[in-house]
């Protein structure tokens, strides 16, 4: 086998290897160097990681198993120092590797403005995961300020992410408007307004004079003398191709490593790909052309001919809610005319630039619906004289076509590019949908890669699916619970009651389940619906619960468990703390942590030890905190009138009263509550599923907040005068949710679905109904509220869970 060495595990080289192994897995034995201490990941998705919309794990493109499967020798965290072309070896920090063929894919290095103070701790660039983590960490401290130098794509994505994480952010941009390379002034202005609305401060024509600070960064001083205080400075002013190794090896290097249309450098055994190359005078900074290069290079390595050509590029900004698109050349010039459309009320702006009857540039802000159509006209150099009058209104106005967004997608030719990042065209998507019988967006992502990188084309992909599948695809249609049925959650809940179905097999039989015993999506949902609707009659089906709810502890990534006992309203005592300390020592529990829910988590407990751990905690009077359940979780409280000089009511007492009454109840999604003693709201009641703000006048009852995947302040249900009223109201509200909620639907989503009026009608306006719901809850509690730990610690419930069936490590065979 020939030896292939790759320097740099970035977006470009990852694709090369994929194509290479797909075509001929046996051709090369690969060694992959990467200066970063990790393998290939989707660099462009660092922005969603920064903003918290994705995790790093979700953006890894090739994991350890993939490298192992393809026998790639990984040398991650090791920089290549030089290439010796006469001996044909690559010199890494930890030793040499010989090559037959070599790929240089070193990407580029962020440009750092050469001003005083640029080396201070806290001054960073935005290029890799470490930078992203530094930003995430810096934003963790409340009230901190960041300055982002550079208002281009990268800088703005950094700014938006930091802002979402709660930092005060200022963007300093040298030019007169943001993203001046991609946007004209008008669009730059709309973008600026959008960002300012999100609380990002924008300084244009701002020139950085120096960075101030003694042992760490303290601020940025601009040329006009302004000092912007900052504990974090992000430089995002541009990139430089990383060409040092190539240069020192004596390869032809212009502004970057010069390659021909097969990605070959001036040495026939050395190829280069990605941001470190220059082709016919062009440099690259977006992934679409790099993916094209990767295809060509993989072929060249296998001796197949293909040619790389530079294509038009388009840009989108990955800031949720800022819709912009730009492509081509839109500078004003002799012989060019332009067409502009503005709708200030909607914040919409479109500008097209035409030269010699061809569209040569387009900028759009606010409504980018026709972006792909314009981009196609541009790439195909379609004459536009005929449609000149209505061109700006987009495709639906052309040729008498009906005003239907679907028609626009239908009219696109098969080679129209839908996903720019991955270079996937319409024909590929429709044919894969048909061939593989795909029906969901996730399927299409898995099989075609379309919409799997930056995600801005998701809408288009959905329209294509609707077009290809016709009635079979309707993203707004009632979503079936899972593949086992066509019924949605609402119908299933209704039919369970209407037909009085009282067991999982009955439901599956009567509602014509398509599988014999359901799946991991429908069974837990059905189990909950039956518990909620037939308390006392229905027997909980443990095998239909996720492991956490089956063993009443949270499974950890290494298969151990965590244990969180209840601390009523967040109150604890010496006795409880001592019991926790004893358990931790006795069972050698590796971590003890205060949770975000104001109680204590013991992490890394061995499964076999769980019953004994619980027995000890039970002995000190503690019960399961249900940190694992779709159930009542925590009721946080503040110190309230007991201690606080501002406290108006006994918030701690109310919190404890609620938790003691409601613990042990199962709910559609988890339920977290809090009670604050005054509007200063130290218990953070206004982002909880249910919250109470105490005032001099009584109790303000809030609900439907969220602070996890979504962030949403609560809505006010009502105000009441006494604690008893507040208590009854809250219990009734939760019971209504228990009876109406779809499995895994949190309270805020339930409210959105059923509407405030119906909830107020049942809980606030009608005392009789309220009482009814309160009693239904109490009745269910009588039956289901048991400490699951106690039952397992001593009662022998589910004992099979905690012991291996057999140990045959040293056993003789049976015969």
């Amino acid at each position: 086998m020939q030896k292939l060495v790759v320097i740099g595990a970035g977006m470009a080289s990852g694709r090369v290897l994929e194509h290479l192994f797909e075509t001929d897995a046996q051709a090369y034995e690969v060694t992959l160097f990467n200066a970063e201490p990790r393998g290939n990941y989707n660099r462009i998705m660092l922005s969603p990681v920064l903003s918290g919309e994705k995790s790093y794990a979700e953006i890894v493109t090739h994991d350890d198993d993939w490298y192992a499967e393809h026998k790639v020798t990984c040398r991650f965290g090791e920089k290549v120092l030089s290439v010796d072309r006469t001996r044909k070896v690559v010199v890494g920090e930890k030793g040499e590797v010989p090559y037959d063929k070599l790929i240089i894919a070193t990407g580029s290095t962020p440009f750092i403005v050469p001003v005083e103070g640029r080396d201070l701790p806290g001054v960073i660039a935005y290029r890799d995961l470490d930078d992203t983590n530094t930003m995430i960490e810096a934003s963790g401290k409340p009230g901190t300020q960041a300055v982002v130098i550079g208002g281009g794509l990268l800088g703005l994505e950094a700014a938006a992410g930091l802002r979402l994480r709660g930092m005060e952010v200022t963007v300093v941009h040298l030019s007169g408007h943001l993203m001046e390379r991609q946007l004209d002034e008008a669009a730059g202005y709309l973008l600026r307004k959008d960002l300012e609305r999100r609380g990002i401060n924008v300084v244009t024509r701002g020139s950085t004079q120096r960075i101030v600070g003694t042992d760490k960064v303290e601020g940025v001083e601009l040329a006009d003398g302004t000092v912007l205080p900052a504990s974090l400075v992000v430089m995002a002013v541009g990139i430089r191709p990383s060409v040092q190794i190539a240069k020192e090896a004596g390869l032809d290097v212009g502004r970057a490593i010069t390659v021909d249309a097969q990605m070959q450098t001036s040495d026939p055994d050395i190829y280069a790909v990605g941001e470190c190359v220059e082709f016919e005078g062009t440099l690259f900074g977006l992934v679409a052309p790099l993916y094209e290069q990767a295809k060509v290079l993989a072929k060249a390595l296998l001796g197949e001919a293909d040619t790389f050509v530079v294509k038009e590029l388009s840009t989108k900004l990955k800031v949720t809610g800022c819709d912009l698109f730009s492509a081509g050349d839109f500078a004003e010039a002799e012989g060019r005319e332009e067409i502009v459309l503005r709708d200030p009320t909607q914040g919409v702006y479109r500008r097209l630039v035409i030269e010699n009857d061809r569209l040569v540039g387009a900028v759009m802000y606010g409504d980018t619906g026709d972006a792909n159509w314009f981009f196609d006209l541009m790439k195909n150099k379609t004459p536009v004289a005929e449609m000149r009058e209505t061109l700006i209104f987009g495709q639906s106005y052309q040729g008498g076509a009906p005003l239907d967004p679907m028609a626009a997608v239908a009219a696109l030719p098969d080679d129209a590019e839908i996903c720019g990042c991955n270079g996937v065209c319409k024909g590929k998507i429709t044919s894969t949908i048909n061939e593989k019988g795909l029906t969901s967006l996730d399927d299409v992502r898995a099989h075609t890669k379309a919409s799997s990188s930056c995600g801005t084309c998701t809408g288009l992909v959905e329209q294509l699916m609707a077009l290809t599948l016709g009635g079979a695809f309707n993203p707004n249609a009632v979503k079936p619970m899972c593949g086992c049925t066509d019924l949605g959650h609402g119908d299933v809940r209704r039919l369970i009651r209407a037909k009085e179905l009282k067991s999982i097999p009955e439901v599956m039989q009567e509602l014509e389940w398509k599988t014999s015993c359901g799946c991991a999506k429908c069974r837990p949902a059905l189990n909950y619906y039956l518990i909620s609707d037939w308390p006392g009659e229905y027997q909980d089906d443990k095998q239909s619960r996720f492991i956490n709810e089956r063993v009443h502890a949270n499974i950890q990534k290494d298969g151990t468990y965590s244990v969180v006992p209840r601390m009523w309203g967040g109150m604890t005592s010496a006795k409880e703390l001592r019991a926790i300390a004893d358990v931790v020592e006795k069972f050698d529990i590796p971590s003890v942590k205060c949770t975000g829910g104001a109680r204590i988590d013991m992490l890394g407990v061995k499964k076999e030890d769980l019953p004994a751990v619980w027995a000890d905690l039970n002995a000190a009077g503690m019960v399961s905190g249900a940190a694992y359940g779709k159930a009542l979780r925590t009721v946080k409280s503040c110190v309230g009138s007991d201690w606080c000089r501002f406290g108006t009511q006994d918030s701690t007492g109310l919190g404890m009263r609620i938790e003691k009454f409601m613990w042990g109840s199962w709910t559609p999604g988890k339920v977290k509550m809090a009670v604050s003693g005054c509007p200063r709201n130290c218990a953070e009641a206004t982002c909880k599923d249910v919250g109470v703000i105490c005032t001099e006048a009584g109790y303000e009852i809030h609900f439907a907040g969220a602070a996890g995947l979504d962030i949403k302040g609560t809505e006010i249900l009502t105000q009441v005068k006494t604690e008893d009223e507040a208590f009854e109201m809250i219990v009734a509200l939760v019971q209504l949710y228990r009876e109406q909620g779809h499995y895994l639907e949190r309270i805020y989503k339930w409210l959105k679905r059923v509407g405030m009026d119906s909830i107020k009608e049942a809980i606030v306006e009608n005392a009789e109904k309220r009482r009814h719901y309160f009693e239904r809850f109490a009745e269910s509690q009588d039956i289901y509220r048991r400490d699951p730990w106690a039952e397992r610690a001593t009662g022998g419930v589910a004992s099979h869970e905690f012991k291996p069936m057999a140990d045959i490590t040293f056993k003789e065979a049976a015969e």
């Binding site: 799946c519 991991a520 837990p524 443990k542 499974i555 291996p804 069936m805 045959i808 065979a813």
Partner: protein
């Protein structure tokens, strides 16, 4: 060819229906599953994705859903279902029809993950 060695591990009823138990074996942890229709399957207790303990998952039809990130794995072939790729090592099982004793073998033909009651 040497005849495969069989080890007794317990009774079918030791495993809950649509459930699983673990075994400590010389090859590491093995998960033994019992389906709704009382078939028994055994495989390595390690998900190909990130090593999740499959014995802790939800059993449905002839599959188990991994407790960590919901990969679905066929109990019959050990293969991951859907577009994911990966295979879990499976082991041969036989059940004595009379006593309902389960026996496992680590060297019997892997292509036959389920052998009906011996003889």
């Amino acid at each position: 060819m040497t005849t495969p060695a069989w080890y007794k591990i317990g009774l079918v009823t030791d495993i809950p229906k649509r459930g699983a138990r673990c075994l400590n074996t010389p090859l590491g942890r093995v998960a033994v599953f019992r389906t709704a229709d009382d078939r028994v399957f055994a495989m390595e207790d390690r998900c190909p994705h990130k090593g999740g303990p499959l014995s802790q998952g939800i059993v449905h039809d002839r599959s188990v859903t991994c407790p960590l990130h919901n990969a679905v794995i066929s109990l019959e072939s050990g293969e991951m279902k859907g577009p994911d790729e990966g295979t879990v090592k499976t082991f041969a099982i036989r059940i004595d029809a009379q006593s309902q004793t389960i026996e496992i073998s680590f060297d019997a033909v892997a292509a036959e993950p389920f052998v009906e009651a011996a003889e």
